[in-house]
């Protein structure tokens, strides 16, 4: 049995030689030239428009350079030209799989900047929606990973069946399945009815059966284990140094979940555990996501038990003529893909002077080369799938 090391054991980089955090250099051993392949931007496994320039020695990866920018629209520049609230619908389009957590991160950063309070009921709704988002993100992420392994269809459709139920809930509450534009500075846009809460309880009651089913279907599947175990290993000291966050970091054995560390919103009221990996490979990342879904269901059950009454919007919140005092704030939440942060500088005007998105998808890709070097090309597809990115957020 392996014991999981404590964070302090490996997080310190004291005494390590310079350049320890760079990708290792692998010498080609075969004869002849390296084969350079551009995987993407339209490759079925790249989840969108993303390119990897790979140098191959036979099947082995010698070098891998990710190429970004195919979906770049300079979200940050656009946000500096419009009001604070005007950017809220645009945050939906960053990580379009989980728009509600994007809304939440942005609202949280602005609330930090202005010191705005959030009513109790809105906090509960945020937690419920955030955890529903996490469940559907992890479900579809697992589905895509298995799809890339060659099991075309079935697991992905199982995941999407569950995701549809959750998207239906989003639609009946906010009016849209994905482009929700739901949260506001100091609360939420519309209140949830009793009927919606009852429907949510019903969906949540069905989720444990889904995780059971996925576990029975996949966890001990021989092909899945053969393809993922020992592949794409990411050591914890490098993961911390490279700013990797979310399920990827926790699969590397680092106990760092912002819901526990920052306790933003009302997360410190709920009882849940943080799953950690101890082999640091693709299988662990898959497994951590699966276990996180179970923990999210636990949080959902606790939150749905006692949703308090009251307003969903702080009555004192300023909506018209919203001009935060000069200053800056960095707010972050544990989005399903990692730490999603917003950094805002106000100069006292109606538009943010500086608006920055800290995209977990982009920064988690920093270590893609480190994980892929020396592996087979077919495994690179899996390693890439286990990072779980959305190009809308990578390129912004």
């Amino acid at each position: 049995m392996t014991t999981i090391p404590r964070v302090a054991d490996f997080a310190s980089s004291k005494g390590k030689p310079d350049g320890w955090n760079r990708p290792q250099v692998v010498e080609p051993d075969g004869e002849g030239e390296l084969l350079e392949v551009a995987m993407g931007p339209h490759h079925p496994s790249t989840h969108g428009v993303f390119r990897m320039d790979v140098a191959l020695d036979g099947e082995r990866v010698i070098r891998l350079k990710p190429v970004f920018g195919y979906l770049h629209r300079n979200h940050e520049k656009i946000a500096e030209g419009i009001s604070y609230l005007g950017s809220m619908p645009f945050t939906d389009r960053l990580d379009y799989i989980c728009p509600l957590t994007n809304n939440w991160a942005y609202a949280l950063a602005v609330e930090k900047l202005t010191g705005q309070a959030v009513p109790e009921r809105a906090e509960y709704l945020r937690v419920i929606l955030g955890e529903l988002t996490r469940v559907q993100n992890h479900a579809s992420s697992i589905g895509f990973l298995i799809q890339e392994m060659g099991a075309s269809g079935t697991p992905l459709m199982y995941a999407f069946r569950e995701r549809e139920k959750i998207l239906d809930l989003f639609e009946s509450l906010t009016g849209a399945r994905m482009m929700v534009n739901y949260m506001r500075f100091g609360g939420c846009r519309v209140d949830a009815t009793e009927g919606w809460l009852a429907a949510t309880r019903k969906v949540v009651a069905g989720l444990p059966a889904f995780t059971e089913e996925i576990e029975r279907l996949l966890c001990s599947n021989e092909i899945l284990m053969a393809r993922t175990q020992g592949v794409g290993i990411l050591p914890p000291d490098l993961a911390v140094n490279a700013g990797v966050t979310g399920p990827m970091l926790r699969a590397s054995g680092v106990n760092y979940d912002l819901r526990k560390v920052d306790g933003y919103g009302i997360y410190n009221r709920f009882n849940f555990r943080v799953p950690l990996g101890d082999h640091w490979d693709v299988y662990d990342r898959f497994m951590v996501r699966l276990l996180e879904m179970r923990e999210s269901i636990k949080i959902l059950e606790q939150a749905l038990k006692d949703v308090p009454g009251g307003p969903v919007m702080d009555p004192k919140a300023k909506i018209r003529g919203f001009r935060p005092k000069a200053g800056e704030a960095y707010g972050r939440i544990e989005a399903p893909k990692g730490e999603l942060g917003f950094y805002l500088i106000s100069d006292g005007g109606p538009n943010p002077y500086r608006y920055r998105v800290r995209p977990p998808s982009l920064i988690n890709l920093t270590v893609l080369e480190d994980m892929a070097i020396g592996q087979n090309l077919a495994d690179v597809v899996l390693i890439f799938g286990s990072v779980d990115i959305v190009l809308g957020e990578v390129d912004r």
Binding site: V7, A8, A11, S12, S13, K14, D18, G19, N21, R22, F68, G69, H72, N74, E76, K77, K112, L113, T114, G115, L238, V240, N241, A242, G243, V244, T245, V254, Y256, V261, P324, K325, A326, G327, E328, A329, Y330, R332, E339, G341, Y343, I345, S346, R354, R356, R358, L362, I363, L365, T366, V367, D395, R396
Partner: protein, 223 residues
Amino acid sequence: MITVEEIKAAIEAALPGAGVEIVFNPSVSGQHSLLVTPSDAVEVAKFLRDELSLDYLSNATGVDWPDKEISEKVKTAKQVTKTVDGAAQTVEEMVEETRKRVVPGCIEAVYHLFSVSKSFGPVVLRMRTVNRTDQVELPSLTPIWRAAEFQEREIFDLFGIVFKGHPDLRRLLMWDEFKDHPMRRDYVEPDDFEYEPTAHDEVLSRALAHGGEQTGAGQEGRG
């Protein structure tokens, strides 16, 4: 929790002569920052990572502060010749003048640091370039925190800060042939939104160089 004053004192005790100043943040967030002299930045960063266990660099970004023209009213004493009681006299008088002065701008790199092992943060680190035109070099913190690799490339791309010591400083989001830095405040969008260099252009020009009949429909080139 450790305050910026304590961090500043710790840096000054360990690295005498390192230039560190506190930048006050008037917002309720209370996230004050440390302005580091670029020449000492790598040493300071190494100290923060290894001794204060700020092992995790979360966010790195740029902020553009353009040159500011400030007009202020200044009262000065001036020799004025006046005719008093029929005789010319030189009198000293206070005159109000409007003077304009230009405060030089800079581009700032901002880093948000956290500690994973001790669970605190953020500690905000800032560096400023000398000006916005020709002296835009800053030391790269990528050797200290690998997390800065793509983010510093993005700052180089969108703001134009040149990071010395970065292992692979290329544009991240814009294409390599792009000239300007779009996130600067004075960036002007080009007129020809339609134009983007494509591989097709290159292929077409090579085909035309070979001669032959290249004047079919759709071969007239871009309008």
